[in-house]
Structure formats: structure tokens, C-alpha cells
């Protein structure tokens, strides 16, 4: 299945894009999908994917568990670095 990866915050800035698609097999653990996605990113952006404070959501639901399996029909993974004011 094709999943839309949406990037936000510092990770998007480092990646130089806010969206990208990746083919992922149904049943893949979220952590593996993130690693596969990160392999296509610049090194500086990929480093953010290992950050424990990275906010990840799957189809509109916060997904802190990287072992979670991505079900058939998964459409979107949001990857957001923590932000603040200024």
C-alpha cells in the first residue's frame, strides 16, 4: 500500500519537503516503516527519526508505540518534531 508521509517542524525543514509517498506492506511495524522512510531522507533529517520525542501519528491518531502494525488501508503517517514559541 502507498502511504503518504507528512513531515512537520524541524524534520521537514531538514528533509526539504513536507510530504512524500512510500510503498509499505500491510502489517509492517511502524518503526520499520519509519526506518525505511528515513533511508530516503538526507542524513540530517533521518537523525530526527531516532529521537524519542518525535511525535508520530497514523491516520489521525497519535502512535507512540513503534511496534504498532500498520493495517491494510493505512493512508497517512505524520512525523512532527516538537516545536515551541518564540
Amino acid at each position: 500500500m502507498k502511504i503518504q508521509f507528512v513531515l512537520s517542524g524541524q524534520v521537514a525543514h531538514q528533509a526539504g519537503c513536507s510530504q512524500s509517498q512510500l510503498e509499505v506492506a500491510a502489517g509492517t511495524p511502524l518503526g520499520e516503516a519509519l526506518a525505511a522512510f528515513g533511508a530516503g531522507l538526507p542524513t540530517a533529517a533521518a537523525a530526527y527519526l531516532d529521537d524519542a520525542t518525535l511525535f508520530v501519528a497514523v491516520d489521525g491518531e497519535h502512535a507512540p508505540d513503534r511496534e504498532r502494525l500498520l493495517p491494510e488501508g493505512t493512508r497517512e503517517v505524520l512525523i512532527m518534531s516538537p516545536m515551541a514559541g518564540g
Binding site: 524541524q10 511525535f55 501519528a57 512532527m80 518534531s81 516538537p82 518564540g86
Partner: protein, 258 residues
């Protein structure tokens, strides 16, 4: 939250009715909602890029008392986004500049300018005075402190944040919905105090934060408490992410609604 049975509750005056005439017609807001705002004290942590539009919109909506906490003086690089500041105030305290701007706009609003950022020494006292808190600070140490104190005292919090052309807003009802520490249990290692941002992004994010605050205070429907609002101001896209409380959250894991 301010309620009609709160000691010292002030009714709307004829001047109030004239000033807020247009928004009194908003369904499920009306005079009851306006009276709540008039009797509300809102604490805004920092009046920079986010806190400036937050404070300004709270004043426009008719919040009766604002506490603006911000240490430090105005620099030229603040003027792309900190819209309660003015160039002739360079080198002077930002909380006082924000207070002056708001009081020129709405002299009837009480504004307390606190020339300090949120610290362990002042967080509890400032939150205790507030019916709602808007956290717009740039450092996670401050944000976590404010989150902890709001949860401890049961004061609703709207956390607003931004980076580049993106933003996020998290409305928190302590003991009911996920708090900031449920989402970010530790200090983000990559965060830097200075970051890219354009003023239109901070204005959009700050204004959404105030809208969420108004929903927490009044009967306006559609609160996103329990969701993180992610905003992409470049592509004008808004995502609402369901966020659950973590039972092992070090801040709110053992709290119940007040």
C-alpha cells in the same frame, strides 16, 4: 472558569454590549459567553511571536484581565512577528510594550505586565491567578513547568508552538485530556532557541490557540481538547490528531478532573 456565581462577577455594561455587538450574535456564544470572558483572567506566557497575537486576540474578544509574563527587552529581530511591539520600543521591556499596545486598543482591559519568564519561583503564583493559560514560550523547560503547574492546579491550558511555516496547538483540560508531557515526556534534544519562522505563521497559530481557548471558556462548540492540531500554513492544511492520556505520564498520570 469564570461563572456567574463567582464572587465579584461583573455583568455586561451598555458599553460592553455596544463593543461586542457583532460577536454577541454568534450562536452558542451570546451575552452569556461574553460575560464569562469579561470575568476571565488569562495568563499568557511570553508575548513574542505567538504570545503577541494571542494577547491581542484575547483583548479583542473581551477577556477582562490579562497577565503577560515575559522577561527581556525588544530587539530588531523581534519585529517580523511580535505584533504588540513597536520600533520605538527597541531596548525596552517587551511585557510593558505589549501592555501599552493592548491598553491603547482596549483601555477597559486590566493588564498585568510581569517582567519575567515562567520559572519555578513564579509559576504556581501566576497560574493560581488565572482561569486559563496560554503557553507560548520558546523553551521546553518553561513549557513543561507551565504544563505541570496547570495540571496540578486544574487550570485549562492551551499550548501553542511553531517552527518554520508549521504550527501545533494542544488544548489541555487537566485530568481529562492528554497534557504536554503525555506527548513529549522528555526534553527534545534537537530543539534550538532560535529557529526560522514567518510572522503570518505565528499569527495564524496564535489565533487558532485563542479560538480553542474561547471554546474551553464558553459554550462555543467544537473544542479540540484531546487532540493536537497540526497546522501547515504554507499549504493551508490543518490536521487534528487524537491524543490519549498516558497512564504512566509523570505529570498527569494520576490526576482526575477537578
Amino acid at each position: 472558569m469564570a461563572a456567574a456565581d463567582k464572587p465579584g462577577f461583573e455583568e455586561l455594561t451598555p458599553d460592553d454590549l455596544a463593543t461586542y455587538e457583532w460577536q454577541l450574535d454568534v450562536p452558542q456564544f451570546g451575552e452569556a459567553g461574553q460575560a464569562v470572558l469579561k470575568n476571565t483572567t488569562a495568563l499568557v506566557s511570553r508575548v513574542g511571536g505567538l504570545g503577541s497575537p494571542v494577547a491581542f486576540q484575547l483583548a479583542a474578544a473581551g477577556v477582562g484581565r490579562l497577565i503577560l509574563a515575559h522577561g527581556g527587552n525588544l530587539k530588531p529581530s523581534d519585529l517580523n512577528r511580535q505584533i504588540t511591539m513597536t520600533r520605538d520600543g527597541l531596548g525596552t521591556p517587551r511585557c510593558e510594550l505589549a501592555k501599552a499596545t493592548i491598553q491603547r486598543f482596549k483601555p477597559e482591559i486590566e493588564v498585568a505586565a510581569v517582567p519575567s519568564n515562567i520559572t519555578e519561583d513564579n509559576a504556581a503564583e501566576l497560574v493560581a491567578q488565572a482561569d486559563i493559560v496560554f503557553d507560548c514560550a520558546p523553551l521546553f523547560e518553561e513549557r513543561f513547568l507551565m504544563n505541570r503547574e496547570c495540571v496540578r492546579q486544574g487550570v485549562p491550558l492551551v499550548d501553542a508552538a511553531m517552527y518554520n511555516t508549521d504550527g501545533s496547538i494542544l488544548p489541555v483540560i487537566p485530568g481529562e485530556t492528554a497534557c504536554l508531557a503525555c506527548l513529549f515526556p522528555e526534553l527534545p534534544p534537537h530543539w534550538r532557541r532560535r529557529f526560522p519562522v514567518i510572522g503570518t505563521t505565528s499569527a495564524m497559530v496564535g489565533t487558532i490557540a485563542v479560538m480553542e481557548g474561547l471554546k474551553l471558556l464558553t459554550d462555543l462548540p467544537g473544542s479540540n481538547a484531546g487532540r493536537l492540531i497540526q497546522v501547515d500554513t504554507l499549504n493551508i492544511a490543518v490536521r487534528k490528531i487524537a491524543v490519549a492520556r498516558r497512564t504512566d505520564c509523570a505529570v498527569c498520570g494520576k490526576t482526575s478532573p477537578r
